[in-house]
Symmetry: C2
Subunit: 290 residues, 2 copies
C-alpha cells in the first residue's frame, strides 16, 4: 500500500470517526522497529513518510554520535518521543551498581540534548541478586537519578515489562507497581510508559490505565501473536496478533494522555524486511487498528 492510499485513509478516518481513530500526527517510529537504519537514516525515513516523531536507542545514538543525532532531528524538525533506555539497576556489588547509576546519568544527558519527551526505563531483572533485593535496588536507583533528571529537565518513564521478563530484564511487571515506584515524585517528573505487549493480559488493565492518568509519559503499540514464538522477538505488527489495540488506546486517551504513540516491534522477520515497506505498513495498520 502506497503513501497516497494511507493518506487518503487518514483523511477518510478523521472525516468518519473523529476521536475514534488515532491521527497519524501522533505516530512515532521507535527505532528498534527498523534497526537497519542508523539515526540519520531513521530520521530521513520519518520525513520521507511524514511520520512526525521518532524514538531513539542509545546504542544507535552512540554509533551515529550524539551531536550528529541532535543535529539530524533538529534539521528535520522531528519530535523525539523518547530515548530508550535507562535502568538495569540490580547488580551484586556496590561498585557495579554505582557504575549503572553513572551510565544512567549519561542517558539523562542524551535525552536532554535530544529534547526527548521521556527517558524510558527498563529497570532490570531478578537474576543478579534475587527478586526482593532487585526490587529494592530499583527503588534506590530511581531515587538516585531523580534530582539529576530534574535539573536536566528530563522526565523518567518507568516501563512495566511483561512478567516473562522478570528474571532477566524487569522486576517491574505491572502498571500498579510502576505507579507505586513513581508515587514519591512529582507526576511531571517520574511517570509510566505503557506498552500494550507488556500489559494487555492483565485483568485490571483498564483500571490501571485510568489510575496512571497524568503519570502516563508514553504509549507503545505492537501485537501479541498466538502462539508466541519467542519472548524477546515474539511480538508482531499491529493486526497480526490478538491485542485489542483500540480499546487500550482509547483508555489511554481517556486517562488524559494525548502524546506520541510509538510503534516498537522486536521481530526478526520484520527486521529482515525492507524498512521502508515496514514503515508503510506501520502507518496503514496504525490508522486501521490503533
Amino acid at each position: 500500500m502506497g503513501r497516497e492510499t494511507v493518506d487518503a485513509g487518514a483523511a477518510d478516518c478523521s472525516h468518519k470517526g473523529g476521536a475514534l481513530v488515532a491521527e497519524l500526527s501522533r505516530l512515532s517510529l521507535n527505532q528498534i522497529t527498523t534497526p537497519a537504519w542508523n539515526v540519520g537514516a531513521a530520521v530521513e525515513a520519518c520525513v520521507r513518510h511524514s511520520v512526525p516523531g521518532v524514538s531513539l536507542w542509545r546504542h544507535k545514538i552512540s554509533e551515529f554520535g550524539l551531536k550528529q543525532s541532535v543535529q539530524s532531528v533538529r534539521d528535520a524538525g522531528l519530535h523525539v518521543s523518547s530515548v530508550c533506555r535507562g535502568g538495569m539497576f540490580p547488580a551484586p556489588d556496590a561498585i557495579e551498581r554505582r557504575a549503572k547509576i553513572e551510565d544512567n546519568f549519561r542517558a539523562i544527558d542524551e535525552a536532554a540534548a535530544l529534547n526527548a519527551d521521556v527517558l524510558v526505563f527498563v529497570v532490570g531483572g531478578a537474576a543478579p541478586v534475587g527478586i526482593a533485593a532487585a526490587r529494592e535496588m530499583v527503588r534506590d536507583g530511581i531515587a538516585a537519578l531523580v534530582p539529576y533528571a530534574e535539573q536536566a529537565g528530563v522526565r523518567l518513564g518507568l516501563e512495566p515489562l511483561h512478567p516473562m521478563f522478570a528474571g532477566d530484564r524487569s522486576v517491574l511487571t505491572t502498571v500498579d507497581e510502576a505507579l507505586d515506584l513513581a508515587a514519591p515524585y512529582a507526576e511531571d517528573r517520574v511517570g509510566v510508559v505503557l506498552d500494550v505487549f507488556h500489559i494487555w493480559w492483565h485483568p485490571n488493565v483498564l483500571q490501571q490505565i485510568a489510575a496512571a492518568s497524568r503519570r502516563i509519559m508514553g504509549f507503545h503499540v505492537s501485537d501479541w501473536p498466538v502462539p508466541l514464538p519467542d519472548t524477546l522477538l515474539g511480538r508482531c505488527m499491529m493486526g497480526d496478533g490478538i491485542i485489542d489495540l483500540r480499546t487500550l488506546r482509547t483508555a489511554v486517551d481517556a486517562a488524559g494522555y494525548s502524546g506520541p504513540i510509538e510503534v516498537e516491534i522486536f521481530n526478526q522477520a520484520i527486521w529482515d524486511e525492507d524498512p521502508d515497506a515496514v514503515l508503510t505498513r506501520t502507518k496503514q495498520r496504525f490508522l486501521e487498528l490503533v
Copy 2:
C-alpha cells in the same frame, strides 16, 4: 546421587530443620515430568523410589485405560494428588463450548474414579474469542461443572498460568483472579492450584498465597531459568533457576496447606533423560530446596 544418599539427606534435614524442610512424604510426581513412563510405569517408579504420590494426565490415563490406571494406583497404595486437566472453556460457538463441558464431565469422572485430591483446570486462552469474552466463558464453564463435580465428590482446582500463556492457554493469570472465580462456591469445592513457575514473579505473591488459604488445593514446583529458553518447555529442575522455592513453600504451608507437593516440569532435556535418574534428582532437589 543414589537413593541411600537421598534418604540420608532426608533424615539429616528433619533432624536439623523440622518444619523448615518439606518432608518426602509430601512429594508427588507429576507424570508430565517423566512422560516416557505410561501410568503403570510411573506408578511402579513411585513405589520403587518411595514417592508416595502421583499426578496423572488424561492422555496418559486414556492410553493406559482408566480401569487399569485405577487398579494400578490402588494396588500400589499410591495417593493421586491430581488429575491434569480440565478446562479450555473458550470457543467461538455454543456447540463447541458444550462439547468442552461434556469433556470436562469425563475429566471429573476420571478424577472421581482415581480418588484424586483435585482436578486441575487450565481454563483456556484469549485467542479463540478475545480476552473479555474468554473470561466470561471461563466463568460460565466453571458454573456448568460445579454441580456435577460436587455430586462426584471431585474438587475443582483453578490454576493461574503465567501471563505469557494468556493468548493460547489461560486467561486466568493471577491468584487473585482465581480466588475471584472460586468465590461463589464452597471453599472445599472450588479452589486454586499454585505453581511456582506461574506465580513467582508477582509483586504480591506472598499476600496472594495468604489470601488463598483454605482454597489451596495443590502446590506445584519447578524452576525458572535465566534466560528462559522457551515458554512451554522453558521451566527447569528445582535449583537450576532463580525461584526462591522455600520462601514460597513455607508461605503456602503458613496459609494452611499441608497436602502433596507436585514436581511438574515440562522440559525436553529432562524428558530425554533416563526417567529414573530424573526421579532420583527430583527427590534430592526437593529435600534441598523445597
